[in-house]
Every structure is written in structure tokens, then in C-alpha cells.
């Protein structure tokens, strides 16, 4: 059973906040001095806004599964309703070197395209929505450096087109395979992650995913670990980053006693999966210039035309290393 892994890193780049240097602060201070806060012109609503279609899809090198999420802002979600408007009935095609595949729409309230919210300790997997989620399998796994296209025909007849090229997977240099990192829960452990970027990479993101506990060199049945870690965001062109591991706590789920929940265990070591994901320029542009930002209407699709959102390529590499519990 996979355990949830918390993290503090994020692939979302910092949003620029407007800091006007020098005179801006001075001007603001003078405004305040004059009671300027009470003198602001009232905001005005903007009417007749287009509720634009949004498309989110990423093709992963080495995977033949493709998921395309198509949404549009809903008018009035009911209380408790997942607040994302579905766009159903679209025809979605993804074309690669092996030919074209039409994706099918997921049924039911859940689907694999979008997770709503983050789970907390002990919670089950959060709900997924099937609204507007189109999935399918290509005839072959996605090949790095190869162009894949997206064609979506909406029920209205409008079309959305996209194109993506998955980057080459990164090569993880450090930590070495089987490396051992000493760790105490009262003292953060720092280790360096170093890689060699593949062609077509514009943005990298590191994460610690699954962790398996070991006690007396054996992995207990139904065991898992929660890791808390943080890392910065590597800038373009950088080939390494420091990861700070704050907490590792391992549990087992006693068989036949599901009601009592997982039980903490004293662990000797944990095998931790490090994942370094590489994204292409389309995703990098999406996350820095489009997601949650104000953007020109004609430039709101990264790798897309006819919709807001992203159609991007990605590739990942994994490395397993061992965290040794130095407190034991």
C-alpha cells in the first residue's frame, strides 16, 4: 500500500509580486499620509467575460497513456460539488508516429486527470474527477524528441490544436544508486541531487516519492514511510539542487485491523525513491506565465491554440537510495 509523501517543494514557480522600487514606497507613504486609502476609486466589474475552455495534458516519455482534461468555469457549483466545470462530448485525438488514437471520456464522478485537494495524514486518496477527462493509450510509448499532436473538436464545433515534444529524460548523477544518507528526526539531513539534463528540457523538478521501511534488513508487510522534505527550484541551466530532509516516520498497517489505522514502527533504514522530472518549454511557460496569471488572450495556451492551458511533454528519471536512521 503506498503511503502518502508530503513535500514542500513545488513545480510552481514563484509568482512575481509587483515591487516598485524607490519612489513607489515613497508615493504610497504620501498617499497614506493624505488618507489615500480612503480615497480610492471603486473597482468596476468587467461584464461579458469569455469563460474560456481550458485544456491540460502532458505526454510522458516512456508511457503510452495519455490524459487530456477539458474544463470550463461553471456558473454555480452546488455546495460540495467539485468546483470544476466539465466539458463533455468532445472528440479528442492524439497523434504520434504510430498513428492517431481517439481518447475516451472517463465516466462517473472520478477520473485520473485531476486530484482535488491534498490529503492529510491518514486520509484516503482524495477524490478524482472524471469531468472532462479523456484518456487513452497510444499504440506505442511516447518517444523523446518526437512530435505528438492534439486535436480536440468541441461539441460546439470549435477545434483546439496542440503539439508537444517530450524531452530526453535526465540522467541522475547524485545521489549514486544505493547511496546511504544518515538521518535523525531531530536534525535535518541535507544531500545534493545532481543530474545531467536531456535535450529539450526547460524546467526540472525533484521529488521524493515512495519510501519503504526496513527493520532488521527486512521490509515489513504493508509498511510505508512519510517523508517531509524541501528543496528549492532549480533555475534554468542549473544541474544540481540541495534537498533538505526534515522528517521520516514509518508505519505498518496491521492486517485484519484496518479500523485502528497505521502503527508507528522503529525503523532502521528506508529505501527512498527520488524522482527528477524534466518538462519542456511549453510547461515552463505555462507555469510561469499562464497559470494564475494575467496573460494576453492569444498567448494563453502553451503548446496549444484555441484554448487556455497546456499541452506539454515530460520525462522522468528515478533513483533509489537509502536513508539510515542514525538514531537507532
Amino acid at each position: 500500500m503506498p503511503w502518502n509523501v508530503r513535500h514542500f517543494g513545488s513545480p510552481v514557480a514563484s509568482t512575481a509580486s509587483v515591487r516598485a522600487a524607490g519612489a513607489a514606497g515613497l508615493a504610497a507613504a504620501i498617499l497614506l499620509a493624505a488618507g489615500g486609502c480612503d480615497l480610492l476609486r471603486d473597482s468596476t466589474a468587467v461584464d461579458d467575460l469569455e469563460r474560456a475552455i481550458a485544456v491540460h495534458a502532458i505526454v510522458w516519455a516512456g508511457s503510452d497513456t495519455v490524459r487530456v482534461l477539458i474544463t470550463r468555469i461553471v456558473e454555480s457549483p452546488a455546495p460540495g460539488e467539485f468546483p470544476v466545470g466539465r466539458v463533455t462530448g468532445a472528440e479528442v485525438y492524439v497523434t504520434g508516429p504510430e498513428g492517431s488514437v481517439r481518447l475516451g471520456e472517463a465516466v462517473g464522478p472520478f477520473g485520473p486527470c485531476l486530484i482535488g485537494g491534498l490529503p492529510s495524514d491518514g486520509e484516503e486518496e482524495p477524490p478524482r474527477t472524471g469531468a472532462g477527462c479523456y484518456t487513452g493509450r497510444l499504440r506505442a510509448a511516447v518517444v523523446p524528441g518526437t512530435r505528438y499532436t492534439l486535436l480536440t473538436v468541441l461539441p460546439s464545433g470549435d477545434t483546439i490544436r496542440g503539439a508537444a515534444v517530450a524531452p530526453e529524460p535526465p540522467e541522475i548523477i547524485a545521489p549514486a544508486a544505493g547511496a546511504r544518507v544518515a538521518f535523525r528526526n531531530d536534525e535535518p539531513a541535507n544531500f545534493e541531487v545532481r543530474w545531467r539534463s536531456g535535450q529539450g528540457t526547460a524546467l526540472l523538478y525533484t521529488s521524493l516519492t515512495d519510501a519503504t521501511p526496513f527493520v532488521d534488513d527486512r521490509a515489513p508487510l504493508d509498511g510505508g514511510c512519510i517523508t517531509e522534505w524541501a528543496s528549492g527550484e532549480p533555475r534554468a541551466g542549473e544541474d544540481h539542487i540541495d534537498v533538505h530532509l526534515f522528517r521520516v516516520e514509518c508505519y505498518v498497517q496491521d492486517p485484519g485491523d484496518a479500523d485502528s489505522g497505521p502503527r508507528p514502527i522503529a525503523w532502521d533504514s528506508a529505501r527512498v525513491h527520488l524522482r527528477v522530472a524534466a518538462f519542456d518549454t511549453a510547461y515552463a511557460r505555462f507555469i510561469t506565465e499562464i497559470h494564475g496569471e494575467s496573460v494576453m488572450r492569444g498567448e494563453a495556451g502553451a503548446g496549444l491554440s484555441g484554448a487556455v492551458g497546456v499541452f506539454a511533454g515530460a520525462a522522468a528519471a528515478e533513483r533509489v537510495f537509502t536513508v539510515v536512521n542514525a538514531a537507532q
Partner: protein, 780 residues
């Protein structure tokens, strides 16, 4: 005809000399000297010097007049050859005679003999009568002219006929001044009490001046009186100033000293200590101006002028305001400038005037931001410098001009070499900061050499023509030839038509992105040389104008068309709120087109003055296939200023400014977007969906129109204190009397609405609200 008679008729001499004030002996610039019997008129230059060549031998009556002075006539005996010197001292006219000045004399020309569109002139004393922001500011007076637009209440930067501020050459006594304002334009750079006059040439300027695309603003400070010691000063809410002028010890020259210091920091500290406010403004500036003029020989002179400015802003952790976030970064900034000029003028013989000049002007800035990085929250932390910037812009110039005065021609030629230094180092380690201010290092030291030759030809008594060419060589950025033409026709005694056209070039440009919102509020501008791959920016314009004068009224109308090429513009129209202040790489050659019609009406009778300016204009920039109106473009601007006496010694003045709104980028749509969680292999939704606001074409819509009413009163009180006659002038002024909620910018944002689809709205960032200020001026 007997040869002897012919020789007599051909025997001519030159009349030359100075026009000065009878009281202070300072030069009266732009007075008119006229020999009516010969239909010969000339305007004296800024030094009060005039030359009337080719005057037949005999006794002639010369009339000299100037605005605000009593006209004078005197008889002069002109010899058969050589030169006769005539120095004239004009007395200040009593108030009731003010309307009978040179501008209202039916036969008198305007106080300029430019053969083309004349400069717009602002006299120093006028500056203090126009309500300003906190204190009188010469550049805010310029902003009231129809040829000039203002981007915001917070800035005194000049946008002249569709040009950006980096296209203006600001000269202080001949020395270029970079960033001629304090705190980005909140406060005036120059002491108004030290200014004699300023000329602004908003286009179609002659070959002798350059090298900018949009305007030349020449600020000339007073020489200082040659009769006795005088003093002046003022105490205002945020600053005080004091100045002295008087004769040099040998009575062959004069000096002027002016010093200002703000105490905004001290005032807000005190107000906070008294519990009136809960913040301080840790900003201060000090500036000083020194000038000395000395006669050399009979007609020559040498003038030295020094301007010094230093200012700084320090926001430190011990600021200790209740509203301050203790985690807010510390900022420490120092910036300032100096400008030094040396000018030597010497008439060579009777009809040639030589001038040599040298100037050194420099602007420097240092900017640092420190942020706390916690080692052990909240007790242990270290300061990390997240922004480190040093910048310097310098111009060392030397030049010389020769002017030859002939019967119908005035031929000028000259050369100038400018050695620039653009040295910028900026390092940002904070991601938020680096989004707005990119790290870069740039050192560039280009040299330009400019040379010109130009002739002004009096075709008839009523028609003057001007033709010249200027060449600008800028090393690897190329060499350009810049022809200049002008014409002036006095159609009737009341009506004068002018025509001017020319081509212009400049090497420097601003590193700011004019379209970025934050750039409008920066304390100063960073300048650099245009990229060599783009080459010199060039422009050309044509200006057709007419001027009508009768009684105390003057109406001037100008129409213009200006085109600019190879402007180094950011590659694409940006999202103004998110775009970086500086764009240091990837600029592309852009073009600009500006056209418009301007009207300026002035009426003066006694102590009542009314000025009404109106401009209809349109500016478009184009870069990388995208065409848009820049953020400072306004379709209509209207400016009405008036002043009238208030009692015997008081003056009431008011100003109304109205303008159509500036362009902004509209919101046209909204969508929800999700980030991706690689470790989960899916997109994720954190609570409320994140909205992406979709913007329409760049600057496609207009902000609400702008309106402001300012009023001011001032009154003179004559005192005799400490054995001296002293004039005290308290003043009170209110900016934006009606508290009109003018808009600086519209910020598009999405709005969460419970139970309803999200919407969008425009949040308005304000201009200045109702703002009263007061102070007192003094002089002796």
C-alpha cells in the same frame, strides 16, 4: 553715380552690445533691438548680447524693448566701418505698463528671431505662480504645455509629442542632466529661485542643437546681480532652500549660490513621535547650485556652473512602524548626480561670435535590498543581500561654435564630442525581485562626434529661412546625416507662420520598459547606449505653426507629424503589472508615429494672466509586428491656468487639467488552470481553482478621464528687518481641491463569488488625492 557716393553707401559698420537690467545689471535675454528707419530688428541672445551688422554710417535711433521692462530709445552714431558698442540698461516697467510690452507692440516681433518654430519659453518668476506638488517645480510647469504630457501625478518626466523621457535633452546651463528630478519626480530638481528662464524646443529644432529625438529643454540659471548682495529662500513642508547672489569682488562678474535640503524624514519622525502618524518616510535629498560669471575683455565672458544632488532612501529594520511587516526587506539606496559646465564666449571682431564649452555630467545610483533568512525562527537570522545594484551614467563633452553675423545671413557652425560612460551592475538573487529587475552587467563607453553648419537667411524683412545639416558619428553604431529646415513668415503684423522639419538621432536609450507599471514609479532611470546591432535611433518631423498676437493676447497653433525608427523596444507588448522594470536584452528595432495639433492661448492684462492649452494627439509604437498606443498616450489634453491679483500684493492662481484616460489592456476572459504534481502524475487542484485572466489587445482601452483642480494663493509683505528691506511671501496651495479620484492604472483581477461563477474586475491604483501644502518664501 559717383564712385565716392557709392563707397559712402557701401560703408557700413556693426552695432553690438548688451541689454541688461538697470537694477541688477543681469543680462535680459531675448530683448528686441530695432533700428526702425532701416527696418532692422534682432533679438538678443540668452546672454543679452546682440549684433546688428551692415549699418550705414550715420546717426540712428535704436529702440530696445523686453517683456516686463520699459522700452528705451537712444540715438547712436555709427561710423563708416568697424563696430560701435551699445550697452542698454532697461528699467523694470511699472505694473500698469506690463501689458505694453514687446509682445503687444503692433510692429514688434516676438522675442525670438528663430527662422522656424520658436521655442516655448517659461520665465523663472512664472514658475512659482503655478501650483506645484508641495513646492514649485519647473518641470511640472512644462507639463502644462500642450506639447508635453505627464504620465502620472507622481512623476515630472516629460513625454513630448509622443516621445519617451529618454528622448529629451535636459540642459542646465549647457550641461546635460540625467534624471533631473528628486524621487522619480515627486520633488523638483532645481531651485525655482535660481532659474532665469527655460526654453523648450518640442521639435523641428535647428542643426545647432541635439542629439535627441523629441525635445531640447534648456534651463538657464540667473547670473546673479552685479549691483549688490541679494538673498532669497523658502521654507516649505518638506524642504527649505536658501540662495545668495551678488557681484564678484572686482565688479566684473557675479555669482549665485543656492542650496536645498528636505526634511521629510525629520518631519515624519517628529509626527510619529507625537502620535500623529504611525510611519516614517526615511527619504532625504540635498542639492546645491553654484554659478559664477566673469567678463573677459570688452565683450567676452566666462561662466562656470555646478549642480550637485544627493538623495537616499533607507528602510531598515529599526524603522519600527506598527504597520510594518518585520519580515519586510531592508532597502538602502543612494543616488544623485552632478553637472559641471564651463562656457567661454568671445566676439572675434565685429561680426563673429565664438563660444567654447566643456561639461561633465554624471548620475550614479546604488541600491541594495537585504532580507532576513532565519537560521532558527524567530530568534536567529542572518541578513542576505537579495539585490545589489550600482549604476553610473556619465557624459563628458567638449564643443565649440562660431556664429557669423552678416547683413542678411547668420551663419553658424560647430562641433561637439561626447564621451559617454554607461556602467551598470545589477545582481538579484531573490526570485521575486529578479522577475522585475533582471541581473545584468554592462559597461559601455561610446564616443559621439557631432558637427553642424547652418545658415539663417533674412530673405526679406518678413521672411526668414533656415537651412542646415548636422552629422552625428557614433563609432560602430554608425554615422547619420541630419538635415534641418525652417521658415518664418510674418504674414501680417499680427500673424506669423512657421514651418520646420528635420531629422534627428540619438545614441542613448532607457533600460526601463516604459509599459511596465513599476517603471512608472521608479526613483530614477537607467540609461544605456542603443545596441550596436540596431544602431542609432532616428526620427524625423515636420511642424507647421502659426502665431497671432494682438493686445495682451497670443494664440499659437502647431500641427506636427513625427516618425521614429530603430527605437530599441522590448520584443512584445507586455503585461504591465508583471513585466520587469528593466529590459536589458532582446530589444528589437521598433518604430513610432506621433501626430497632433496643439493650441496655446495666453492673455495678459496687468497682473491678470490666463493661459489655455489644448492638444489633440495620437501616438503609436510598433515592434515585432505588434502595434499599440504607449501608456502615456492621451487623445485630448486641456490645461487652463489663471492668476490674478489678490489685493495690492497678493496673487491668486488656479489650474485645471483635464485629459482623456491613458490606455490600458482590457480583461476579455477568464479560465481556470491547474498546476501539475509530477510525483502523482496528475494535475492538482488546491482548494479554490486558480484563475487565469485573459487580456485583450495591449492598451486597447482607455482609463477614465483625468481631471484636477489646483489652487494657490500668495501675498507679499514688505518688512524692514535687520537694516535690510525684506519681502516675505507666505503661500498656500491645494492640489486636487475636488479630490477627484484619478486613476494611475487599472489592475485586472479575478473575483471569487460564492455560489456563482468567478468574475473579473478592475482595481484602480490612485493618483494624488486632495493635498494641501504651505510655506513661506523670502527675499532681500
Amino acid at each position: 553715380m559717383p564712385v565716392a557716393v557709392l563707397v559712402l553707401l557701401l560703408s557700413t559698420a556693426t552695432v553690438q552690445g548688451f541689454v541688461r537690467s538697470a537694477s541688477t545689471h543681469e543680462p535680459i535675454a531675448h530683448a528686441v533691438v530695432e533700428i526702425a528707419a532701416l527696418e532692422r530688428r534682432v533679438a538678443v541672445d540668452e546672454r543679452g548680447y546682440f549684433v546688428i551688422p551692415s549699418i550705414p554710417a550715420g546717426r540712428w535711433s535704436i529702440r530696445v524693448s523686453a517683456l516686463g521692462y520699459r522700452p528705451t530709445e537712444l540715438d547712436v552714431t555709427v561710423p563708416a566701418d568697424g563696430a560701435v558698442r551699445v550697452d542698454v540698461a532697461l528699467k523694470i516697467a511699472p505694473l500698469q505698463l506690463e501689458e505694453i510690452d514687446v509682445r503687444t507692440d503692433a510692429r514688434a516681433p516676438a522675442s525670438t528671431d528663430d527662422a522656424g518654430p520658436p521655442p516655448i519659453r517659461v520665465d523663472g518668476p512664472v514658475i512659482s505662480t503655478v501650483p506645484g506638488l508641495i513646492e514649485a517645480d519647473v518641470f511640472r510647469v512644462i507639463q502644462t504645455l500642450p506639447a508635453v504630457a505627464a504620465a502620472s501625478d507622481f512623476s515630472s518626466a516629460l513625454y513630448v509629442r509622443g516621445g519617451s523621457p529618454d528622448q529629451n535633452l535636459i540642459l542646465l546651463d549647457g550641461a546635460p542632466v540625467f534624471n533631473p528630478f528628486h524621487a522619480g519626480g515627486l520633488f523638483a530638481a532645481f531651485d525655482p529661485g535660481a532659474i532665469a528662464e527655460l526654453d523648450i524646443l518640442p521639435g523641428a529644432f535647428p542643426a545647432s542643437v541635439g542629439d535627441r529625438l523629441s525635445s531640447v529643454v534648456s534651463v538657464r540659471t540667473r547670473d546673479g546681480g552685479r549691483d549688490r548682495l541679494r538673498g532669497w529662500g523658502g521654507i516649505g513642508l518638506v524642504s527649505s532652500r536658501a540662495g545668495l547672489d551678488g557681484p564678484l569682488p572686482d565688479d566684473r562678474g557675479s555669482y549665485l549660490v543656492s542650496v536645498r535640503r528636505t526634511y521629510l524624514d525629520l518631519m515624519t519622525d517628529a509626527a510619529k513621535g507625537l502620535g500623529l502618524i504611525d510611519f516614517t518616510i526615511p527619504y532625504g535629498f540635498t542639492d546645491a547650485h553654484l554659478k559664477a560669471v566673469h567678463d573677459v575683455g570688452g565683450l567676452g565672458s566666462i561662466a562656470a556652473s555646478v549642480y550637485l544632488d544627493r538623495e537616499g532612501l533607507d528602510i531598515t529594520e529599526d524603522l519600527g512602524t506598527e504597520s510594518n511587516d518585520p519580515n519586510a526587506p531592508d532597502q538602502s539606496s543612494d543616488w544623485g548626480s552632478y553637472a559641471f559646465s564651463l562656457r567661454y564666449r568671445q566676439p572675434l571682431g565685429a561680426t563673429v561670435l565664438a563660444e567654447a564649452r566643456a561639461a561633465l555630467s554624471s548620475f550614479y545610483g546604488s541600491f541594495g535590498v537585504w532580507e532576513r533568512r532565519y537560521v532558527d525562527f524567530p530568534d536567529t537570522y542572518e541578513w542576505v543581500r537579495t539585490l545589489d545594484a550600482d549604476t553610473r551614467t556619465r557624459d563628458l563633452l567638449i564643443g565649440a561654435d562660431l556664429t557669423w553675423y552678416a547683413r542678411r545671413h547668420r551663419l553658424g557652425w560647430g562641433v561637439q564630442m561626447d564621451r559617454y560612460t554607461f556602467d551598470h551592475r545589477l545582481g538579484a538573487s531573490d526570485l521575486d525581485v529578479s522577475d522585475l529587475i533582471p541581473s545584468f552587467r554592462s559597461v559601455d563607453r561610446p564616443t559621439t562626434i557631432a558637427a553642424y553648419i547652418e545658415d539663417e537667411w533674412s530673405l526679406t524683412a518678413d521672411i526668414r529661412l533656415r537651412g542646415g545639416v548636422r552629422a552625428l558619428h557614433a563609432e560602430d553604431r554608425g554615422t547619420v546625416w541630419l538635415p534641418r529646415l525652417g521658415a518664418r513668415v510674418e504674414v501680417t503684423p499680427d500673424l506669423t507662420l512657421t514651418l520646420g522639419a528635420g531629422r534627428y538621432a540619438q545614441i542613448l536609450h532607457s533600460l526601463r520598459d516604459e509599459e511596465a507599471f513599476a517603471a512608472m514609479l521608479t526613483a530614477y532611470d537607467l540609461l544605456a547606449a542603443v545596441p550596436a546591432r540596431i544602431g542609432l535611433s532616428t526620427g524625423r518631423d515636420i511642424v507647421l505653426g502659426g502665431e497671432w498676437r494682438r493686445g495682451g493676447a497670443m494664440l499659437r497653433v502647431d500641427g506636427y507629424l513625427k516618425q521614429m525608427q530603430d527605437l530599441p523596444l522590448p520584443a512584445a507588448p507586455p503585461d504591465a503589472l508583471e513585466d520587469p522594470i528593466l529590459v536589458t536584452e532582446g530589444r528589437r528595432p521598433g518604430t513610432g508615429t506621433a501626430r497632433g495639433i496643439e493650441a496655446l492661448f495666453r492673455y495678459r492684462r496687468g497682473r491678470t494672466m490666463v493661459a489655455l492649452g489644448y492638444a489633440l494627439s495620437s501616438t503609436e509604437l510598433e515592434v515585432a509586428g505588434s502595434r499599440y498606443a504607449p501608456h502615456y498616450d492621451r487623445r485630448h489634453t486641456l490645461d487652463l491656468s489663471a492668476s490674478t491679483s489678490w489685493g495690492e500684493h497678493g496673487l491668486f492662481s488656479a489650474r485645471i487639467a483635464w485629459a482623456t484616460g491613458q490606455p490600458y489592456t482590457p480583461v476579455v476572459g477568464i479560465a481556470e488552470t491547474f498546476s501539475y504534481a509530477p510525483e502523482r502524475g496528475t494535475f492538482v487542484l488546491f482548494g479554490t481553482p486558480s484563475r487565469t485572466v485573459l487580456l485583450g489587445p495591449h492598451n486597447a482601452e482607455r482609463l477614465p478621464s483625468y481631471f484636477r483642480l489646483d489652487v494657490a494663493v500668495r501675498k507679499d509683505y514688505e518688512k524692514h528687518w535687520f537694516g535690510a528691506d525684506l519681502t516675505l511671501t507666505p503661500y498656500f496651495q491645494i492640489l486636487n481641491v475636488l479630490n477627484t479620484k484619478n486613476v494611475l492604472y487599472a489592475n485586472p483581477d479575478d473575483v471569487f463569488r460564492f455560489g456563482r461563477a468567478p468574475a473579473a474586475e478592475l482595481e484602480y491604483l490612485p493618483q494624488l488625492p486632495f493635498l494641501p501644502t504651505f510655506g513661506i518664501e523670502w527675499r532681500f
